[in-house]
């Protein structure tokens, strides 16, 4: 598995350099340069949203730093949570005087470091709340949603909580919206071929030439089953069935859907999937608003896709529609 890289040890930093050079709206900050924040700095009087996680998921996380979205991002090494210093920096830099929501995916390392950072910052008087992305239905039953992994659906929480913060909501309200968005989001992924960590000698998992894995995580964590590759429509059908079998209580018959490429799957194939998914949701009486198709949350060169449903009510819909602008997504 070939990579266009120099030294695995410089992978993250060189990539962040290129990212911030290409998008002047983003700058590196923090003691180790492992925070990306908005170039114009934090808006005084706005609730801040700090996110972060391991590297290797571009455009997540850093790509969503922008107006109406998140404010700062702490960046770890590839598939490792950000370290405590970066978390501290990200929270501090997101502080506009009205508190900071820590909004990130439910992974052990990330939690420990954001938690410790919050403990350190309590003394500084920065109020912090936490909402964890837990949208991956393959990683726990409906009874243990809090244990689920956070995957592509996190961008819906970014978008809606970001809109609330931009509109002047206070920390409790922004936190409520983020938690509501997470509770309304469900994702399932399918993997066709692995990625390789720049420092690893072997791919992150192995699949036979005709094998796929349903329910795979965005770091290659094991999924629900491995079996022979089947037609796109059959795969789409199973993903839709699983998502429809896991409706949140608040599902009101309207949803946004995100058909997300994991990295190496071409847009052509995502559209083939979307076509089927859309017609299945139509049949099920689910109205699709604001579909998103593209590479929103990746795993480097992993091949595969995920499908997320974001169940909407009027409040979430208005927030999803609110203006927003970042390097990789824009609504207006």
């Amino acid at each position: 598995m070939k990579k266009l890289i120099n030294d695995p040890a410089r992978y993250v930093d060189e990539s962040l350099d290129g990212l911030t050079l290409a998008f002047p709206s983003l700058v590196r900050d923090g003691a180790a340069g492992r925070v990306v924040r908005r170039a114009e700095g934090m808006t005084e009087g706005k609730v801040g949203i700090a996110s972060g996680g391991g590297f290797g998921h571009l455009p997540l996380f850093t790509g969503y730093v922008g107006r109406g979205l998140i404010d700062t991002c702490a960046i770890g090494n590839v598939f490792e949570g950000p370290n405590i210093d970066s978390c501290i920096d990200a929270i501090r830099l997101a502080d506009g005087g009205r508190g900071v929501l820590r909004l990130y995916g439910n992974y052990g390392g990330d939690r420990m470091n954001f938690d410790m950072a919050g403990e350190v910052l309590e003394d500084e008087g920065i109020r912090c709340t936490t909402v964890l992305g837990t949208d991956d239905i393959a990683s726990g039953g409906p009874g243990e949603i809090g244990r689920r992994r956070g995957v592509a659906g996190l961008i819906y929480a970014y978008k809606t909580a970001g809109a609330a913060a931009e509109a002047g909501a206070d920390l409790e309200e922004v936190t409520r919206i983020a938690a509501k968005a997470v509770a309304a989001t469900r994702t399932i992924g399918v993997g066709l071929a692995p990625c390789r960590l720049p420092s690893a000698a072997k791919p992150s998992f192995e699949l036979a030439e005709d094998e796929i894995e349903m329910g795979i995580g965005i770091h290659g964590e094991p999924g629900i089953w491995r079996d022979r590759l089947r037609p796109a429509d059959a795969i789409a059908d199973e993903m839709v069935d699983r998502l429809l079998a896991d409706l949140p209580a608040q599902s009101g018959g309207e949803a946004s859907v995100l058909v997300n490429g994991l990295g190496a799957t071409p847009l052509e194939e995502l559209f083939i999937l979307y076509r089927r998914i859309r017609s299945r949701f139509d049949q099920a009486g689910l109205t699709i608003a604001h579909p998103l198709v593209g590479n929103y949350v990746t795993s480097m060169e992993m091949q595969g896709a995920s499908v997320s449903l974001f169940h909407l009510d009027e409040e979430l819909k208005a927030l999803l529609r609110a203006p927003a602008e970042c390097a990789f997504w824009r609504v207006d």
């Binding site: 695995p8 040890a9 180790a32 391991g54 702490a74 770890g76 090494n77 590839v78 598939f79 490792e80 949570g81 950000p82 370290n83 405590i84 210093d85 970066s86 978390c87 992974y107 052990g108 390392g109 990330d110 420990m112 470091n113 938690d115 410790m116 393959a138 990683s139 726990g140 244990r147 992994r149 960590l197 420092s199 690893a200 000698a201 072997k202 791919p203 992150s204 998992f205 995580g217 770091h219 290659g220 964590e221 094991p222 999924g223 629900i224």
Partner: protein, 210 residues
């Protein structure tokens, strides 16, 4: 027998060297259950610890503190963060006093409890905690480096075997606990492999002078 800054520093250097050999093996163990980075993460973390010059520390507490801070800067991974927080606990516990090898069991027990509070795992979940817990029990009452090392290694090997056919209940592997049956937990495996390196015979001084 006193536990010295020099011994800590030699141990770190040995561990750093051993990671050349262990890195891909631990990655592979993690790839089966998690995201495949345990080895590369530990290689980077231990290299950072060695670069923090524990040999120059003024005290054992200072040495542990240097290692903890270096580890915390080098990673935000589950295992790395827990390791670093354990070292921070050791540093805090040993502040202002001399340490005997016979103190180690109690010190690690406190660190283990801190890791449980931080990470939310319980004993029996098949994580690094079960490895540390086995060490705490095994080295209780041992007074010198040699016997601490030997009993720790023996306990760790036994614990690996004991847990092999049990499911992982914490960390990335927890979601499909069934798949972890028959496989070693990478965190436990890392403990056992590194303990062997630390306990290995032979002069250590050359590590610090070359």
């Amino acid at each position: 027998m006193e536990l010295t800054v020099f011994q800590i520093a030699v141990g770190v250097r040995r561990a750093a060297d051993a990671m050349d050999r262990l890195e891909q093996e631990l990655n592979a163990a993690d790839a089966k259950l998690g995201d495949g980075d345990t080895g590369s993460m530990l290689a980077r973390v231990i290299a950072a610890m060695a670069a923090a010059e524990p040999q120059a520390a003024a005290s054992v507490s200072d040495a542990f503190g240097r290692l903890a801070r270096a580890g915390m800067s080098a990673t935000g991974s589950s295992l790395g963060t827990l390791f670093a927080s354990a070292l921070l606990s050791l540093s805090k516990q040993t502040k202002g006093r001399e340490i005997q090898w016979s103190d180690l069991s109690d010190l690690i027990a406190v660190a283990r409890d801190g890791m449980m509070a931080r990470g939310g795992a319980k004993l029996g979940d098949k994580t690094v905690l079960d490895a540390l817990d086995a060490v705490v029990v095994a080295i209780a009452g041992r007074t010198d480096a040699g016997s601490v090392g030997a009993t720790a290694c023996e306990a760790l090997d036994r614990t690996l075997v004991e847990f092999r056919d049990r499911p992982c209940r914490m960390g990335r592997a927890k979601f499909f606990a069934g798949k972890s049956v028959g496989l070693d937990d990478p965190g436990m495996l890392a403990c056992a492999s590194l303990a062997k390196v630390l306990a290995s015979e032979g002069a250590g001084a050359h590590y610090l002078t070359t």
